[in-house]
């Protein structure tokens, strides 16, 4: 299980990354954390002719932003994001989801942007990015480009990134437009730390009476890409999130999806557990927010 031969470029800065992408042609590939790419290469399912290593690019690392958004540079380690107080404060859903990503050792190497660019339909970070309607920035020799997440995921591990583009940052909008925010993240997997069979991410904002003012719901593992479940989110709005409403809203999610079977789960199992995961994630988010409401 050894990779096919390739040439290697260690980029020192972003300009060099873009240049290399420009020169490299369609077979060159960026390596960030490599936690998905390297196994694919080892199995020769991926065989880039040139590997552009962005791990030394300082511009691509770091966590920042302002009141309205949390900005995570693409090559920031998942472990760094997981430990970051800023992430916890501004994108608590991401902080929560990061604990489900692989294992500590893969999070030490794996990156936030790498996971999004890789676009695995069951991966946690793309799911959160979609839930929160994150904005992406990609750069190429031709300049920078903003990409809305809603148009980013094209298909199974396919994105709208062009071959010569490098994802540079992810902007998670901060929900501070009023209301008390609660988050829920649930997934069902066979073993802890495995890729999820189905994952659900929910973020809610409640007013001081516990009425839902804003809701975002998305599912992973039920389609070739992560999927926003608008019908469920809408059904939650203006309700006080009583069990019945939540149950009904979650049921809608099951109707919105058309999952497929694999060796670990049937399509029906995915559909049914999607409902369950959505329901649990909503309740988790609700209870978290209500806990905050209750606090003086």
């Amino acid at each position: 299980m050894k990779a096919a031969a390739f040439d290697y470029i260690r980029a020192g800065d972003l300009a060099e990354v873009c240049r290399a992408l420009d020169d490299g042609g369609p077979d060159c590939k960026i390596i960030a954390g490599g936690q998905t790419l390297v196994p694919m290469m080892a199995m020769r399912l991926a065989r880039p002719s040139i590997l552009i290593d962005i791990n030394a690019v300082g511009e691509l690392q770091g966590i920042g932003g302002d009141e309205t958004s949390l900005v995570i540079k693409a090559c920031t380690r998942q472990a760094a994001a997981e430990r970051s107080p800023e992430v916890r404060a501004k994108a608590p859903l991401l902080a929560k989801a990061l604990r489900f990503v692989g294992h500590p050792q893969t999070r030490n190497r794996g990156t936030v942007g790498g996971s999004i660019a890789n676009a695995d339909p069951v991966a946690e970070i793309p799911l959160v990015a979609l839930t929160l309607d994150a904005g992406l920035v990609a750069e190429s020799a031709g300049g920078a480009r903003n990409i809305g997440i809603s148009g980013f995921f094209h298909g199974l591990m396919e994105t709208s990134l062009a071959a010569d583009e490098c994802l540079t940052e992810v902007r998670f909008p901060v929900w501070n437009g009023g209301g008390i925010v609660g988050t829920g993240f649930r997934e069902v997997s066979i073993r802890a730390g495995d890729f999820a069979i189905v994952a659900a991410a929910v973020q809610l904002a409640l007013d001081e009476n516990g009425v839902c003012k804003r809701a975002a719901v998305a599912l992973g593992g039920v389609a070739p890409t992560p999927l926003r479940i608008e019908a469920t989110a809408e059904a939650l709005l203006s309700s006080d999130l009583d069990a019945k409403t939540v149950g009904e809203a979650a049921r809608l999610a099951a109707h919105e999806i058309d999952p497929v079977a694999d060796v670990h789960a049937s399509a029906e199992y995915r559909r049914r557990t999607a409902r369950v995961m959505v329901e649990r994630a909503i309740l988790e988010a609700r209870d978290e927010a209500l806990g905050r409401v209750a606090k003086p």
Binding site: M1, K2, A3, A4, A5, F6, D7, Y8, R10, I31, G34, Q35, V38, P39, M41, A42, M43, L51, D53, N55, A79, G102, H103, P104, Q105, T106, N108, R109, A192, G193
Partner: protein, 174 residues
């Protein structure tokens, strides 16, 4: 592709080598440097047998190319013992608790737990499990491994109650 020169620090020793870009860090340690303590179990990032510490953090050495380690620092199981060959408290606890059978997963387990104890001298059981959760062992059922890490933490704290994270570098003799 033609070999490229890299320089890597492994267990505080500097090495200069020529490597083809596709050589994994795992194969580099084993085949080029002869540090065969680090093992290959799956070569696709699941089993943790290849765990080493890279710039202070535990990672899987099968998921990196050696060329990416150019200019970086790696610690392996061979570096755990003291210069005199004495076992580290963690190694000694693995022996005491019989935290292994075939010994194949052991170097990975040791590196994962070593990194844990360096960052967190008093881990809870859940924290221990989290730290080794990505390291598969087929022999032990993990029970004696968790026990060994707990024992090592306790002994290290007793030996040096002041030790915070990164604190205790003492060795015990056999």
């Amino acid at each position: 592709m033609k070999p490229r020169e890299i320089s890597v620090t492994v267990n505080a020793k500097h090495y200069r080598s020529e490597v083809p870009p596709r050589l994994t860090l795992l194969d580099y340690l084993r085949e080029v440097l002869g540090l065969t303590g680090t093992h290959a179990g799956c070569e696709h990032g699941v089993c943790g047998a290849c765990s080493v510490i890279f710039d202070g953090q535990p990672i899987r050495s099968c998921l990196m190319f050696a060329i990416q380690a150019d200019g970086h620092e790696v610690e392996t199981v061979e570096g755990l013992a003291g210069a005199d060959g004495g076992l580290s408290p963690l190694q000694d606890a693995f022996w005491e608790a019989h935290a292994l059978q075939c010994g194949y997963c052991t170097p990975g387990m040791l590196m994962a737990s070593h990194a844990l104890l360096r960052a967190n001298p008093d881990p809870t059981e859940d924290e221990i499990k989290e730290a080794i959760g990505g390291n598969l062992c087929r022999c032990t059922g993990y029970q004696q491994i968790v026990e060994a890490v707990r024992l090592a933490a306790k002994r290290m704290r007793e030996a040096d109650p002041e030790a915070g994270p990164e604190g205790n570098k003492d060795r015990v003799d056999e």
